[in-house]
Symmetry: C2
């Protein structure tokens, strides 16, 4: 069976949206990536760190979904990373209310032996030096390395970010971050510049406006499924990335054409993620629901124009 | 041959973008609709009004493209409608600098006899009473009536707008206007409410974020083609509408499935419109260019996921 290794946060979130608010619930980029990838029946290993306050039942839930948590270090005397945020009415912007790094502050990822030959590696949004250290622990060059990052790392460790970018195949980044990283307003030009920094594939996430995949002159676009209600956008980007990586890991085909399908699978899973708070919807998601909604994606985007 | 009747403005524009600025050049919604529809070899009649200052060469150019301008009234002692605007750096927002209604102020559209049995009627963005008066002049109910409108008419003549909405099949409207008209933030919910006002088909234009077509539970989405450079967005929405109507007029098929193709054709033509100032790009556009770019749209959006 093919293997996916994902490094990311496993965390507590407290979320407020126009629809309500939560106490501390399960969150974190590694968690969302793992839950999305678990839809594909591949072996997914998460590398992360939590504190002694992290409930065993969350790890049990992940394990029951086939997610390997051997790489999730538990620091008994420490506290789990905690993020709290409040979404505005348009759901496209949010304010961070609280960020407590806690055990994440000195996170030294350790890749379990079994995942050192993973086919695909997803480097979640963490310090570039943490991302590099995961790559250095691999026993062979993965078939594909996917990196997620954000403006924060561009602000405080741009040089280290450039170093890790040279070592990855795919970058996933949102539109504003792509503009910041490249200094280009047009996303077409931004992708070109980011190609030159290393990644052969550039995925630009535009939230409710979909996602673009660029690869040296080729482009593909997947819309976000228009929904009557977006309940909580938290984790949608990570779910997208997890679906993308999970599908590629399962199919073992990292061609541009297959990445198109991966982008659609990622968008499809993200459309579920936003329907409930936190990981709730992803925990209960069934294969049949996923398939039905893939049909909606086809209906939404496929047309029949013959070009002679 | 099938006929398209379009009522709209034929005007002067003066445009400033980050790439440069123009003197008074040819503009107007009717002009852009006509130029887009001329790509399909259908008989397009424009109903509009201009002043004595409007150059005959502009009308000659339109006629040479097969656009019938018999319905463009020339008021010799009057001045042509003039709009001037300046786009911001992101090209998504603009300031109107000058609006001189001139001959448009007392515009009484007269539909030429030959176009009173047009198959498709496009009611451009004008006062709802002007739009209604065009419909009342038709000798038979057109196969499809498409209406464009804007927030301005919602602000000053909402009741009249609701009256005309009851008489049309398709409304094209941008996302903010759809929200204003419906009072719903979600575009899915907005489309539902607007359906209830009359139009069976709701087209929501999202500019660089593409366009959505809604029809009682069915949805279709076309992205805008990502471009390295958007030179001047003026007329893109009208070009989109003209391509949509032109394709439907040519194919004489107003089913939802064929409207998907029409939306793609409209988006395709709009992607050319923005490449130069005003109507310049649309005037020189060739069939071959249109076809090549349709292939780009297919590459951008079509994928191959089999659902058993």
């Amino acid at each position: 069976m093919s293997k996916l290794l994902a490094v990311g946060t496993v965390a507590f979130d407290a979320i407020e949206t126009p629809f309500g608010k939560t106490d501390k619930i399960l969150g974190g980029s590694g968690t969302f990536v793992g839950l999305a990838a678990s839809q594909f029946g591949v072996e997914t290993g998460i590398v992360s760190v939590v504190g002694g306050d992290f409930p065993q039942e969350y790890l049990d839930m992940m394990n029951a979904k086939g997610i390997n948590t051997d790489g999730v270090e538990i620091i008994k005397e420490g506290k789990t990373f905690f993020w709290s945020g409040k979404y505005h009415n348009d759901m496209n912007s949010r304010d961070t209310l609280i960020t407590e790094l806690n055990v994440l502050e000195n996170f030294q990822p350790v890749v379990p032996e079994y995942f050192k030959d993973a086919d695909i590696v997803m480097l979640g949004n963490l310090h570039p030096l943490v991302q590099v250290s995961v790559l250095e622990q691999m026993s062979k060059r993965p078939k594909l390395v996917v990196l997620d990052t954000m403006n924060f790392w561009m602000d405080i460790s741009l040089n280290e970010l450039h170093d890790v970018l040279k070592k990855v195949d795919v970058i996933t980044i949102n539109d504003e971050e792509a503009r910041q990283l490249s200094g280009e307003y047009s996303l077409v030009n931004a992708a070109k510049k980011i190609h030159e920094m290393g990644p052969k594939y550039v995925v630009i996430k535009k939230g409710e406006h979909g996602a673009l995949l660029f690869n040296e002159g080729n482009m593909f676009f997947a819309p976000a499924l228009p929904l009557a209600e977006v309940f909580d956008p938290t984790g949608a980007g990570d779910t997208f990335a997890g679906g993308f990586c999970g599908y590629l890991t399962k199919t073992q085909d990292v061609s541009f054409d297959n990445m198109k399908n991966a982008i659609i699978y990622g968008s499809n899973l993200a459309s579920f993620c936003v329907e409930k708070f936190g990981t709730e919807r992803m925990q209960e998601l069934t294969e049949k629901e996923v398939k039905n909604r893939l049909q909606s994606f086809k209906d939404l985007t496929q047309f029949d124009i013959e070009l002679s």
